[in-house]
Amino acid sequence: MSDRSLDGRVPFGDIRQIWDRHRFSMNLVNPSNRRKYKVIVVGTGLAGGSAAATLAEQGYKVASFCIQDSPRRAHSIAAQGGINATKNYPNDGDSVWRLFYDTVKGGDFRSREANVYRLAQVSNNIIDQCAAQGVPFAREYGGTLSNRSFGGAQVSRTFYARGQTGQQLLLGAYSAMMKEVSKGHITVYTRRELVELVMIHGRARGIITRNIITGELEKYSADAVLLCTGGYGNTYFLSTNAMTSNGSAAWKAYKKGAYFANPCYTQIHPTCIPVHGENQSKLTLMSESLRNDGRVWVPKARNDRRLAIDIAEHERDYFLEEKYPAFGNLVPRDVASRNAKGVVDDQRGVGETGLSVFLDFRDTIKRDGKEAVGQKYGNLFEMYNRITDEDPYSRPMRIYPAVHYTMGGLWVDYNLMTSIPGLFALGECNFSDHGSNRLGASALMQGLADGYFIIPYTLGNYFAAEHPHEDIIDVEHEAFHEAMQSAKDRFSELLNIGGSRSVDTFHKALGQSMWEYVGMARNEAGLKKAIEEIVDLRTQFWKDLKVTGTDVGVNIELEKANRVADFLELGELMARDALERKESCGGHFREESQTEQHEAQRDDTNFSHVAAWEFKGVDAVPERHIEDLIFEHVRLTQRSYK
């Protein structure tokens, strides 16, 4: 471990003025010069879409890449709940300071104060921008915007568009992009996947992509590269992420020298529809607003497989209400998830698989009537019914936690630049704002803050200060040829292993190790076991993988193999990071570090820092750097929900 703290390059000064002053002191690119700069934006979710649109508006030449057949399909689209901002329209005491404070505390004091403050500051601009784009936010009868309280927040600061907030915000960013496409400022490359990052003279200067339709490898050069490629939750195989969500772009950057920060911070969401069987391909989240009215319980007796209706009141264990009388079913996501796992491990889970707990609306229906409940939750009940064939009005829903979001990601400084000059990371792809636990309705806010309101300033500063375009290069540079060759070699290696097992069998096995040992509760022995199992699995993969077809044209197996090969390395780093962080914090629960009441116990003396890993070779131990976290504006407290 190196002993000097990494420098997050946060400017000095009063936290309330840092961003303002920084915007003033940053260098500007003259508007007429901007078209000389080329920017590559990988990913078209909220972060990538908003960045591409805004940079194009400013006059830069933007090339945008996405893996789907249209930028409108990125997985931000699936976010249901809402987006936070400190408008304080309901006049209930919200402020920039309160959102800042809640986010730092909710992240269990493992994020960078100045970044979070800036996030809260720009949150209002996001709502203005999106409303002006035509995002159909929910409205009051007087025509003003509606707000609701979300995820246990004490103020109503969440804006929403029915249960499809992510979809509507994404379509807003997408429409802004398409507006720039029509003006010729953005070129969109769909069905492309980044397979190599190209570095020249120590800077990020381009990418190699694989065209998913033709199988061809393609070269693109630029003056800066922005990675907006989301999180790596699919390391677990089963998650609420989309099928093509992957960690490969960030992983390629890591292997070229970008530090990977806090990889072990994953968020496991408590209200997902449980696994139905071994052919399950992904998990579906239901909005956690359900916990406002649903009561979580399991039978008191072990292996009790009776129907809920046959289990008498005194035989039921409402374990969250019991244990946390003040918050009850509304305890934070990590606490709810861990307790569900606890009762399932105790063989008190319900359903055919025993891998779920009840979420029961019986009492609310009795109190408010079926109609009122239907109005509030009808859509969610329908979705549940469609997937499980069970009717939540007449029998309790079954839920179980699932991997949902990764707070870790590429390390970035205050300007969102990674440790590679010219390479930036935005949205879920970076590590910066959520600490070790993300609050509900904050992911959409962060993605759009990064893309609409932060990168447009900080990227200009990089260009004006560093003049990367004066180092004239094009795709004929030998660095491109080398990167191309290494991508080619990798794909032919994958095709030529000639083994007997399909990609999915490896991915599922990896997922099992990850879920078992690097999931909701972790301990030293388990994490060591996980590392062993993953290393072993990786060896097997490169010996016994079977990929059908060739590298010409569509080859869905080859695509997956390439991603899973990366997950098999990334999973190991996640376990390593979890092993080194011997404290519990937020979504990272180390069994060795708990209070007497079995709650997460932080260790601020030894772990009040970001862990940023440096690649040293696939089979070598990576180096752990740290960035000290200094809290000047919030007082560190132990979370308590009793």
Binding site: Q68, A132, G277
Partner: protein, 267 residues
């Protein structure tokens, strides 16, 4: 886990090597299908089986698998997104079928959606239509306070109804004319129900419709098949509304064109 009755199905699936080659229906028998599987998980199972026999797996589009991204497609037994109303293929479950059933699985078919491989089609034409005007031209940073533009709850709700479109293209695939009117009208309705969208309303309608025609989508002859298959319940009343708005916009633009001529002539 208790064994629920597994099903055996006969599958007839469209296989096509690439955009240039000719395709054909191919027969498969698949057993071990659990009623709780989604339709795409059933195809995953088939693919695992094909791989084990060293055969090329079936390519199909999908991503979120929760009915919101619009990436999945398929015509199942003649119906876009299969037999269940208001449901995308990824949210369709095998319990809707019986053991022994024969399933015909084909790609979305339309001149503007060429097949790329097997069940994958190219829907880039939809992006081109949006780029022709499906947006409000406001640059980042120039927006007024969000509450400075009041929107009645009714209009906000109507805008949201139309904005729920996921751009999957089932409307096109189910229309005998392969018209994209439901898609276009939904975007036009979303924006024109809002005051923010008024400024460019006429221009938007004219250029989106012109683009749709140029891309080879057919005309709408009120078959209403699009509404029947739309997984998001987008209503064809949007099309009627679009037609009215189109006439008005076309008329106005003709007038302003003739005005321009007059002015030029007077020089």
């Amino acid at each position: 886990m208790s064994e629920r009755a597994k099903m055996t199905l006969k599958l007839k699936i469209w296989r096509q090597e690439n955009a240039r080659s000719k395709g054909r229906m191919t027969d498969y028998t698949l057993s071990g299908v659990s009623p709780d599987m989604s339709f795409l998980e059933m195809l995953d199972l088939l693919n695992e089986q094909l791989i084990s026999q060293d055969k090329d797996p079936v390519s199909f589009d999908h991503d979120c698998r929760e009915g919101i991204c619009g990436m999945c497609s398929l015509v199942i037994n003649g119906q876009a997104h299969g037999p269940e109303a208001l449901t995308t293929t990824c949210q369709l479950h095998m319990r809707k079928f019986k053991s022994g059933d024969t399933l015909f699985i084909e790609p979305f078919r339309a001149k503007a959606f060429p097949v790329l491989k097997d069940l994958m089609v190219d829907r880039a034409a939809f992006d081109e239509i949006i780029a022709a005007g499906g947006f409000i031209d406001i640059a980042t940073g120039s927006a007024p306070d969000a509450n400075a533009i009041p929107v009645s709850k009714i209009n906000a709700d109507l805008a949201m109804d139309a904005a729920a479109c996921i751009g999957c293209g089932a409307c096109v695939a189910s229309c005998k004319n392969a018209s994209a009117m439901l898609f276009v009208s939904a975007k036009v309705a979303h924006l024109s129900h809002l005051p923010q969208g008024q400024v460019e309303a006429d221009k938007r309608i004219l250029s989106m419709v012109a683009k749709m025609d140029a891309l080879g989508f057919g005309n709408c002859t009120n078959e209403a098949e699009c509404q029947a298959v739309c997984p998001k319940g987008i209503s064809i009343s949007n099309i009627a509304r679009l037609n009215r708005q189109y006439l008005r916009a076309a008329l106005l633009s003709e007038e302003s064109e003739s005005m321009d001529c007059l002015e030029e002539g007077s020089h």
